[in-house]
Subunit: 315 residues, 2 copies
Amino acid sequence: MKTRVTELFRIDVPIIQAGMVWTSGQKLAVAVSEAGALGLIGSGSMKPDVLREHIRKAKARTKKPFGVNVPLIRSDANELIQATIEEGVSIVFTSSGHPGEFMEQLKKAGCTVVHVVASVKHARKAYESGCDAVVAEGFEAGGHNGIDEITTFCLVPQVVDVVPIAVIAAGGIADGRQMCAAMALGAEGVQLGTRFAATLESSSHERYKQAIVDANDNSTLLTLRKVTPVRMIKNPFALRAQEAEARGAKKEELLELLGSKRERLGIFEGNWEEGEFEAGQSSGLVHDILPAGEVVRRLMLECDAMMERIQATMR
Amino acid sequence: MKTRVTELFRIDVPIIQAGMVWTSGQKLAVAVSEAGALGLIGSGSMKPDVLREHIRKAKARTKKPFGVNVPLIRSDANELIQATIEEGVSIVFTSSGHPGEFMEQLKKAGCTVVHVVASVKHARKAYESGCDAVVAEGFEAGGHNGIDEITTFCLVPQVVDVVPIAVIAAGGIADGRQMCAAMALGAEGVQLGTRFAATLESSSHERYKQAIVDANDNSTLLTLRKVTPVRMIKNPFALRAQEAEARGAKKEELLELLGSKRERLGIFEGNWEEGEFEAGQSSGLVHDILPAGEVVRRLMLECDAMMERIQATMR
C-alpha cells in the first residue's frame, strides 16, 4: 500500500507505532520497524542520556527507519531534541506543545517532522509552522488527550479538508477494519498506541498489558479535564479521579491527587490500585499479547480483507 | 449498494435519517424515503394524535417505506407505539429504554424493530430481546447520548463482533467518506441526524439550521452527565450547563437549570440564549442547507468515490 506516509518515511506499510511512556523503548520500535512499519521511541519517560542509549541500540539492531517522539511540554524538550538530532535520527514526532519553536533546528538537521494534534486549529498551526504531516488524534485515544473531545471519526476528515499535508489517523485504532476506515476518512496512515502496548516487545508491566487484554468497550474513562485530560483504564485510581472531578474538585486538589509518577507506577510497575493505566477505547478490541511484527501483519491482512469486501459491495 | 439493511427495509441505499425532536416530521421523512433511503418520523416531540396525523400525511405522500422513532423513556411510549401500529407503519426504531417490553406487541403487528444502543452490553440485550437490527451510536452524536462515552470508531466494530444482526452506525456521520468508513468498521448502514436537520424539509428553526452550518469541529460539547448526557452546540445555555457541571453541581441543581422545554425553545423556536441546540460533532462537516434528497445523493456519490479511491490504493 503506497501513500504519502509510506513515501515520507520510506516504509512498506502506512502504520506507525505511537511513542508511549514506559512502553516504547528501542525494543518495541525496532520490532515494528523491522516488520515494515514505523517504530517510535517514546522519549516521554526518558532522560536525554537514556534516550541516546535507546537510539544507539536501535541503530545497531535495525537498518530500517525509526523515529523518536518528543512531548514538547517536557522542560528538557530541547535536550531531548538535541539528543535525537545528534544521534542521527531523522524522523521526529512532537506532541503536546508548539512544534514551531523547534522547527528551524529540526529542519536544519534534515528531519521529517510530524506533530500530533487534536483539533483543526492545531492542525492548521502545525502545517503553517512547517510540519511534513500531522497525526490527528481523537478523544478515544489513551493517555494524554486534547481538551476539545473531538473523536477520530469527526476529526480526521475535518483535518484532511484543511491541511494539504498527509494526515495520520490516531485514537481508537486496534484492527485492520479500523485502519481501512481511517483511510476512508482520508487518512494516509494510522498510528496505534494501545494495540502496540500489549505486545511482547513493549517494556510495560505484564499486569498493564493484561489489563488491556481484559478490557471491554466500557473499560476506560477520560478524566482530570481541569489538569490534563487523560484516558485510562478504570482502576481504583482512575475511579477516584473521576469521583473528584464529578464533585467539582478544583485544579489544585486534582493536582495533589495526581501527585507524581502515576504513569510509571501504573504502566511500568503494574500497580493496579495507585497507578495510571493509560489506554485507549481500542483496548476492547485487543484480545491477546502478540509479537509487534505480528500486529503489523494482521493489520495489513485485515485491512486488505475489508478493502476487498467493500469492493465486492460495489459490484 | 446491497446490505442486510437495504433488504430489511426494502430501500435502495443503506442510509437512515434519524428521528429527531422538533425536526423530523413527515415532511423530512417523506423527502428522505422518496430519495431511496429510510426516513423516520421522530415521535419524541409529538403527542400520539400528532403522530397519527404525521403518519397519515406521509402515507398519502409516498408509497416508499418509512418508519417511526419512539423514545421509550416517554411516559406515553405505549400510546405512541399503539398509534404507530394502528396507522400501519411497520418499521419502528426505539431508543433510550428497553425494547423487550414492547417486542411482543410490535412483532405481533409484523413490525421490523431496531433499537439504538451506545454500548456492547445494550447491543447484546437488544439482540436477545428480538430486535432485527441495532443502531450503534457513538459519543459524537448530537442530542441525548449514552453514559459510557464510547465513540463510533470503537463502538461499531465491537458491536459487530458480538451481535449477528445488522449494525447501523450512527454518531458523527455527515458525508460519504464517513459512510464508507462506517462500512469498513463492519456497519451495513448509517443513520444521520445532524446532516438531515440542516435540510429544507427539516421542521426545525432557521437559526438552529444555520448554527449547524456555522459550526466547526469544536462547536459542540457534551454536558449534563448527571442528568442525561446531551451533546449540543456551545450556545449560552450549553456553556452555563457546562460551567455548572465543572463546579460539581448536583443532579437537583442541574435539573432545575435544565427546566423543561429547552429542546423546543432551541430547535423549534430558535432561541439562541436559552434553548438547547442539539447537534453532533458532524456539524463541522455540514456546510449548507440542502434538500434532503440531495443529501442522500451526495452521500452515495461521495461514498462510491471513496470506495473507488480505496480500490485504487490496493493495486
